[in-house]
Subunit: 461 residues, 3 copies
């Protein structure tokens, strides 16, 4: 114990500003890139390699020695070798005793091995202090110096002082170390760089499915039907008119799907009379990707706004309006203002604007830096109160847009209702059920259940 | 002392990867939720309770023991009990000696007790190392696993190693610990989850007041007046036309109110000849909520943009324009281009666009993650230089919009001027005073005063 | 050693909640402001000064003593003196032995001295533990309490416990300490507050140059040419029409310039057959400011959107459209729908909307808080895949906008082609070269080179 701690004291940069030598095992691409960068930051670097033949690829200022010799020169040894070749380290166990070993390895698949590479390394060389770090940084980024992406380096390890030493190197490279605790976190850190938006898969698949369905639905009603029955070619509707139908429909449905699982959860809890049973798996997964669903909905709402605002510039719209005006002028008549129409048109636009505005606010509060500055009570207020208000406004926007067209038979072509009518089903269900759940006779027991009360408490004796 | 430190060494996860047992006092909702989550993260958990009867609510893998027995099994004890019941812990003082006690309690009101709960706990059990943590996390969030909101857990305490141990548990739960220093910070941490946007109260009340005033003002001028004198029903103006008058007015006034306190402060400092007297309280408070005022102003400006862009789609506007064209066509005359009108219309639109664009830039730089990446000099540059430029552009936008209508008697109905004229008062005052303050004869002494110079330095002997 | 560590133990806030005295050397503006703030946070403060005459400027609760007396009262001494006057500290070396000295100084120029002020201080008083902190905070901000800007305080130093003590004070002041590692980081920390958007210089200069060029180009074609040949006064085009030509052109060119260096780097690597030679300096610098170039391009694209959406409200546009309709009405004819025009108009609008939408997505992911939550693989996916898709959409938008006007002689005035044609040169080059680079015969060797392979490996023997 004593020997160790004095060892560390000697290594700690207490006494002078000279940086301690760093040893790198392995002269592969990542080892060399890291070596380059560490030398640039002012550390002497020594490479440990099977062959001590110097290649032009290895930074000029670095020495290349045998593994044993190199290890003896430094207190920190970066293991830039693949996990399959870790075995030979057992033969160096004595030299590596008390040293800080930095595991930088990555796997090819998530959870490839039963234990993380860093834990495996710690088992092989029990006398060493293993620290996991640098695996989230790419060799390419180190070399090109273009660290635009995350500059965070996750670090974990069981020895605090070893971790501090590694974190100092991370900082010297211009990166930000992020302490993730003990070596148990290594598995998560190793899986991290292999992910590609895991939470977005379900929302994006769902969106693709719904978009395809509604595209063909609208194509049938708006392009094929007039072509068949009226021999009119409206194929250019594919560019703007049809997307501008799909976008608001998807925005509304996805927004409702953000709030549906909460409503379902409340019903399940009321029915079971307890909150201590797990929800079904699909509901759990659904609840976890609500934020992503909401953001996709916001994306569609934004596109809807752009498509709508562009309407008066469209060549087709200009032609239609000017034709209407000319035919009125030729018939020598002016229309009086239709007050109902003015009301309908203005109020559905106003509802849409307010709904979109609140929706954007919700989106901004879901930015990590904003939601981190908000406490739990404030977050609940924004996401729940403002969220439902947004849903109400957007549903009302769609209802008023429909106006008195709902029952008109002309809106049914081939027995297909207007697409926006389909989009109203889910939000209306959510709003009605939520409205019912607000009644005291249901709200009171629900609140009690959520505070831990049980209808049929089962004590095991 | 020696005993303690060896104790900690034994607890530190240096030797093996087995996680240390965590003890939880109290089997209430929060204690159970935290227990569940900690067990999921791989820690053995033991509950300390008055009654050792196991309930089905308690996680299956957890033992329930008496307080004394449970405390002996673990080095970390989470006190999930309300402050009123802390007294009984004094009887366990001997067993708790050297242990890490984690205070997770919250109060119902801000500053409810003279000292924070954690400090109270430290007084009751002086031999223990008290750490404040977890109080900002909700039991509901822990249970449902939907930690969408802030994943930050504030931690404070006087013992570094005790804090490290608690922070490791926090990280193992997938949360981010944030070290807030010594136990003195506990009061602030306990108040934090009770807040509901404290900085936003004044800006929102002010906004509500101004909105109400301008709503009735515009209603009188634009709806009631034509109804009374011309018997025209323009009630649908309530949906878009009137909001689109209120929004720009409020945006401009609130933006000016962001810069007014700075101007007032400069005048006060010049008058007093020193910066070492405190400003009046109302000015201090006003200065502290400038960011919020600016963001509310930006919200109104955004709504104004949406309301404006929607104009050509409005049914009323289309009717009015087509009627104008038809009557011109019926009279067989085309108008020549009015060059002055074209200039006025284009330049007020351009000024508005540029003003809004800079306003959005200001908004983006006020995002926490952006302003954290900007140094003080850059922040001053953006907020002061760009801010004033925004104010100048927006004021000019409103002035040019008015154009030559200012003196026309037809814009006064019931002696009420157009609402936008009222909105120009505050920004014009701010800009004129600021312009005067830029003159060297005032700017030089002001700069000196702000660097610490005093006109009448008063040395106390 | 022993004496030191016991010393620190006594200072650590382990035993009681009473805060330790803080000493401040220097009663200048910054020293006083910091003193005020530290007293407010509950620490006793003592000032060390040449003259012990108390001024009214010094906070009432603070004592003013000689340097030696003041230093003896505290374990932490904040050196609020300018570097030029550090010399006298050598005479206090004995008293300062083992104390924590906090260097808060700043320089007037970047890299003014060979070593940082903090390192200079450490050399002068080798027995003390020097910590760099507080230099990024302004006295004005401390005094006025309006810490809207970054609340981060960079801290660095070689002694961990000294750093912890300073960081506790930082936290007590309501600021966020950021550990930047050993004292070697002091130079960077001292340069930080002197910067004014260093990465933005090149993009902004480039933008100004291009803007000026295209402004006069468009002015010549759109205002001077019709004035000379048709005697029409279109000077009001300066407000909206010409900016709305410049904005999309600059957005497209700058976006292409974001992707050009990557393409050039690939060509250079293919030619050299290795990635281990440095790129030319200009290419390195160019690659480092790609993010800024992209954001400026996004700003221009946003302005273009606003200028475009405002078109139907413009007085000139309304006049032109109504004149067209009236002349048609007077001629008694209605036009049939031109299907090609409808297709062209709708598809260039749709391409523009989608391109802008993806562009905004790219902008959002470049927010620090978002890019920090994204791993390297995800970042590459977004910036590379989505980025090229954006470039393709925006280029297609411009191509379709041109439509069949490319070869029409009427679009050449004074032999000058339409400005948007010029804007297509760079993006088309980038896209064509990128398309060529995707072919397997080039893509395969390039991938190998980027993984470290060399065509002519040169082993030094």
């Amino acid at each position: 114990m004593n020997k160790n701690s004095s060892n560390i004291m000697a290594l700690a940069p207490n006494t002078s500003n000279k940086r301690e030598t760093v040893c790198i095992f392995g002269t592969g691409d990542f080892g060399r890139a890291l070596g380059h960068k560490i030398i640039q930051s002012g550390y002497p670097v020594v490479f440990g390699s099977r062959s001590t033949q110097t290649s032009s690829l290895i930074p000029k200022d670095a020495e290349v020695l045998s593994h044993a010799e190199a290890a003896q020169k430094a207190a920190i040894i970066i293991i830039a070798i693949q996990r399959q070749h870790y075995n030979f380290l057992t033969s160096l166990a004595e030299i590596l005793h008390g040293k800080v070993l930095v595991d930088v390895s990555n796997n090819l698949k998530i959870n490839q091995y039963p234990e993380s590479n860093a834990e495996y390394l710690a088992q092989l060389v029990p006398g060493a202090k293993v620290v996991k770090a640098f695996n989230t940084v790419s060799a390419w980024a180190l070399q090109s110096g273009t660290l635009d992406a995350s500059q965070q380096v996750f670090v974990c390890g069981d020895d605090m002082e070893a971790k501090q030493m590694v974190m100092d190197i991370v900082r010297a490279l211009g990166l930000t170390p992020l302490d993730r605790g003990s070596l148990l976190a290594a598995r998560e850190i190793e899986n991290y760089p292999l992910q590609l938006f895991p939470m977005w898969k379900f929302p994006i698949l769902l969106t693709l499915g719904l978009t395809t369905f509604f595209f063909f639905y609208c194509l049938t009603r708006d392009v094929i039907y007039p072509y068949v029955y009226e021999n009119k070619d409206f194929s250019f509707f594919i560019a703007i008119s049809i997307p501008n139908r799909i976008c608001p429909i998807l925005a509304l449905i996805l927004l409702a799907l953000v709030y549906l699982p909460g409503v379902l959860a409340a019903i399940i809890q009321l029915y079971r009379g307890t909150k201590y049973h797990r929800f079904p798996d699909w509901l759990d997964k659904w609840m976890l990707c609500r934020k992503q669903l909401g953001l996709v909905a916001l994306a569609f709402a934004s596109l809807h706004v752009l498509y709508t605002l562009v309407i008066p510039i469209r060549s087709f719209v200009r032609w239609r309006i000017s034709n209407q005006i000319i035919s009125q002028a030729l018939n020598n008549k002016t229309q009086p203002l239709n007050n109902t129409n003015a009301w309908l048109s203005d109020s559905y636009l106003a509802l849409g604007i307010l709904g979109f505005f609140l929706f954007v606010l919700l989106g901004i509060t879901s930015l990590p830096s904003v939601s981190n500055n908000v406490n739990w009570r404030e977050f609940r207020f924004v996401q729940s109160k403002l969220g439902y208000l947004t849903l109400i406004l957007c549903t009302a926007h769609t209802l008023v847009y429909g106006g008195n067209r709902f029952l008109s038979p002309s809106s049914y072509r081939w027995y297909l209702p207007n697409a926006y009518m389909l989009s109203l089903i889910v939000p209306c269900i959510v709003l009605v059920v939520k409205f019912v759940l607000i009644f005291p006779c249901l709200d009171k027991p629900l609140t009690q259940i959520r505070q831990g009360w049980e209808r049929n408490p089962q004590y095991s004796e």
